[in-house]
């Protein structure tokens, strides 16, 4: 198992890549061979030469790559055609979604392909370096703020000038997970007045550790699971949260939504009324739009203008930051492969006792 390959994604939907020239070098150090489809990184300004210089082989068609590779690296799931081409018993690593990719996954399992979905990576310390959810959400949080500020028709920081004072923009971050925290940090940097809310009580300290203000829902129990994710809230909690947010939403200029419960539809937190209560010119950026959205009126890849409020959401915000996102993603993949690699035997060995292996491996048909 020493041949790693990667083919181009569907550029219309995905600009990220799974292999960067940097990691090619790292794979080579472990004696892997790398096959990439030609023009693999062209759309990001990465020329084929850069890959070649680092030791990758570039081949003309995706077919060739898939037929050769024993390990295939992906961002998204393979297309149907690609699934047909991939070698039996090979390993496929990427971010796969149980729901939307069901058919293809079933097909691949039939071909006895070992599918590792990094979406199911356990949130344990050792897995941090492979945690694509973290690495990508982090960038998503940053980017959401940048895009919101760009869309915002006022200046964010406070400026006391001879022509009067510009009051600082108020930014509310809903959900203080990885994406939310980075959003807080970025908004703070730009000089916004930042507050945030979350169902997990521990988030309070974390928000404050970034200089943000935490809006606590009174009497909230701690809705954190052992794994560090959020549990679904009950009705009484939701009611209290709504009351709290009704007020907060009205006063804020920019709202970044990142609330999420893994495996569930995203909680609806901002109602239509709340959106309408905001000042014209305000922004709602809904990062959870892919999971159904935290806010009313949010639609993927659209900007909806509601009473002068821009409600925005992008399905794949990382397409707007593809270079950095790919760098991190490719490193995550490398670290994952490295974990599969037996340093003594100098080859891939799937240790099923390893939580990281067992939890990410999709073995049964869905």
């Amino acid at each position: 198992m020493k041949i790693i390959g990667s083919v181009k994604e569907d550029l219309a939907a995905e600009k990220r890549i799974s292999v960067t020239p940097d990691v090619v070098k790292k794979y080579k150090d472990l004696d892997f061979s790398i096959y990439l489809e030609k023009n693999y990184g062209n759309h990001l300004g990465i020329r084929d030469e850069e890959y070649k210089d680092n030791g990758a082989s570039l081949v003309n068609s995706s077919k060739e790559v898939l037929e050769k590779s024993e390990i295939v690296l992906r961002v998204n799931c393979l297309s149907n055609d690609q699934a047909n081409l991939i070698k039996n018993q090979s390993i496929l690593i990427g971010q796969f979604d149980d729901f939307s990719n069901k058919e293809i996954i079933n097909k691949l399992i039939k071909k006895d392909i070992k599918i590792f979905s990094l979406n199911s990576l356990p949130r344990i310390t050792r897995a941090q370096s492979m945690d694509v959810l973290s690495s990508q959400a982090n960038l998503a949080g940053y980017r959401a703020v940048i895009e919101s500020v760009e869309a915002f028709e006022k200046a964010v920081p406070m400026m006391m000038t001879a022509a009067g004072t510009i009051t600082p923009a108020k930014v509310l971050v809903i959900g203080a997970g990885v994406a939310g925290l980075q959003a807080i940090a970025t908004a703070k940097r730009l000089g916004g007045i930042v507050s945030a809310t979350d169902v997990r009580i521990i988030a309070k300290e974390q928000v404050e550790s970034l200089g943000g203000k935490f809006l606590s829902v009174e009497g909230a129990e701690n809705l954190e699971t052992k794994e560090g994710y959020a549990k679904e809230a009950d009705e009484s909690f939701k009611k209290k949260q709504t009351d709290l947010l009704k007020n907060a939403v009205k006063k804020n200029d920019i709202i970044i939504c990142t609330a999420l419960i893994p495996g569930k539809k995203a909680p609806r937190i901002i109602s239509e009324d709340m959106v309408k209560s905001m000042k014209p010119g305000s922004i709602i950026y809904d990062l959870a739009v892919g999971q159904g959205g935290n806010s009313a009126f949010s639609e993927a890849d659209k900007v909806n203008l509601v009473n002068g409020v821009k409600v925005m959401g992008v399905k794949n915000i990382l397409n707007n930051l593809p270079l950095t996102a790919s760098n991190l993603y490719a490193k995550n993949l490398f670290n994952f492969v490295y974990n599969l690699y037996d340093k003594k035997k100098k080859s891939i060995f799937l240790n099923e006792e390893d939580e990281i292996v067992s939890k990410t491996l999709i073995t049964k048909e869905l």
Binding site: P157, M158, M160, A162, A163, T165, I166, P168, G211
Partner: protein, 464 residues
């Protein structure tokens, strides 16, 4: 009262004096310190009476003089305006010096009464001790008089230097030693009197060349002298209280003047030798003689610690020095002490719109402590300290008064209305608009000449 018992009481009064000085070294205990001092003095005087024991008619005279002096002293203490403190202390010193001389003379004239032998046949050691006491006392007296006159403004505050002054002083000092030597040999009155006379002269010559700015150091130095004089007399009279107290005052005065020099960044010797004072005042003359009060970080810390509200006025200098973090930290310290802190941001402070906001935000200053000019200008009047850091033009009242000035008409921050104004900047040089700021010369202004960051950091240290 037995000699032993009185010796013990003298020791106690000495210890009380130590506790007095100790108390004075920190504000919290200072008042108690003063009480210890009073108590020590009371004990010393009472014990002296008791140990002499002959309540002759002389006793009444002693009381009369004591009370007369006391009332004069009390009167002066109550009448004197607080601003005249330095010259008052100088004046008082001269009295101590003169008293020491008188006691020495008295002992010299009537050694028997002091157990020092017969007139004309005084014990050698006593004679030496008494001469030293008299000489130092005389120097203290005349030196203090000069310091008093200079501070009072009766005599020009500027240093009066002349060529060879150090040599003359040296010569006179040697003369005193020679005179004492002959006095010991001959026990002749004339040597004694001339020694005292020359000592008076030395006192004059020592202080005349020292500039007014250095007077506090000089006073402390004279304080020290008066201590040594008392100690000398103490040896003569074999009196422990005098010895302990004299040594205490002598050394603490010397140390204090050393500390003060250090605080002013002046060399101790250049102050004491006086000649160097000249350079300093020459600079002052250039500045068209307007006097500026300048302080150090400790003064600033003290003022702010005792304030109930402080307004910080940042300007371009804070940006240049990148002092924003230090300023924030200073504000934190103040707030911890329960002092209200706000920031007044002038619309054109700095060199770009919102310049100060960028920096304050970077230092994480909460937005609700930052006020624009219009909203805070009225608060200065009820504020104890305006802390102006690297700002200049935006506080310049000339904008309100002088239509000729280039900044006429610009709204300014009314910092001068606060009780004390602290200006942190490196020099008296003007700001962007290039015009002098008369606030620097106001009575309630204290200039803190230093780089904004360094000064603020030092203030933080002194606040802690």
């Amino acid at each position: 009262m037995s000699a032993n018992l009185s010796a013990i009481f003298y020791l106690i009064s000495g210890v009380l004096f130590i506790l007095a000085l100790r108390g004075l070294s920190s504000p919290g205990t200072s008042r108690r310190g003063n009480l210890f001092g009073i108590l020590g003095m009371l004990i010393a005087i009472t014990v002296t009476f008791l140990s002499i024991g002959n309540f002759s008619s002389g006793f009444i005279y002693v009381l009369i003089f004591l009370l007369a002096g006391g009332s004069v002293g009390a009167f002066i203490a109550y009448k004197i305006p607080m601003t005249a403190m330095p010259e008052l202390v100088a004046g008082f010193h001269s009295l101590v010096g003169l008293a020491a001389v008188f006691v020495a003379i008295s002992a010299f004239l009537n050694p028997l009464a002091f157990n020092l032998g017969l007139p004309g046949d005084i014990k050698l050691s006593s004679l030496i001790e008494m001469s030293i006491g008299a000489a130092v006392g005389a120097i203290t007296f005349s030196g203090s008089i000069i310091a008093f006159l200079k501070l009072r403004g009766i005599m020009s505050g500027s240093p009066i230097t002349f060529k060879g002054q150090h040599y003359i002083n040296l010569l006179l000092g040697l003369t005193i030693i020679v005179l004492i030597f002959y006095l010991c040999k001959n026990q002749s009155d004339s040597f004694f009197w001339s020694m005292i006379a020359i000592s008076f002269l030395v006192g004059l010559l020592l202080i005349i060349p020292i500039g007014g700015a250095d007077m506090p150091v000089v006073i402390s130095m004279l304080n020290s002298y008066s201590g040594w004089a008392a100690a000398g007399i103490g040896f003569t009279l074999e009196n422990t209280a005098l010895i302990i107290t004299g040594a205490l005052v002598g050394s603490s005065g010397a140390i204090l003047s050393y500390i003060m020099c250090k605080g002013m960044n002046r060399s101790f010797f250049s102050v004491i030798l006086g000649g160097f004072g000249g350079t300093n005042s020459a600079q002052q003359k250039d500045k068209t003689k307007k006097p500026v009060k300048s302080g150090n970080s400790e003064d600033a810390a003290f003022l702010m610690k005792n304030a109930s509200s402080v307004i910080i006025v940042p300007g371009y200098g804070m940006a240049v020095a990148q002092a924003q973090h230090a300023v924030r930290e200073m504000a934190d310290c103040l707030k911890k002490n329960g002092i209200k802190v706000s920031y007044a941001v002038h619309p054109v402070a700095g060199r770009m719109p919102g310049h100060m906001n960028v920096l304050l935000a970077e230092a994480n200053v909460p937005y609700d402590e930052v006020f624009e000019q219009e909203n805070i200008n009225n608060d200065f009047a009820s504020t104890d300290v305006a802390f102006i850091i690297g700002a200049n033009d935006v506080t310049n009242p000339v904008a309100k008064t002088d239509p000729q000035s280039p900044i006429y008409g610009m709204p300014i921050l009314d910092v001068e209305k606060s009780k004390s104004v602290l200006f942190v900047k490196r020099s008296l040089s003007p700001g962007y608009a290039g015009i002098d700021n008369e606030l620097f010369y106001r009575d309630n202004t204290l200039m803190l000449f230093a780089d904004a960051k360094k000064m603020t950091e030092e203030i933080v240290k002194n606040l802690g």
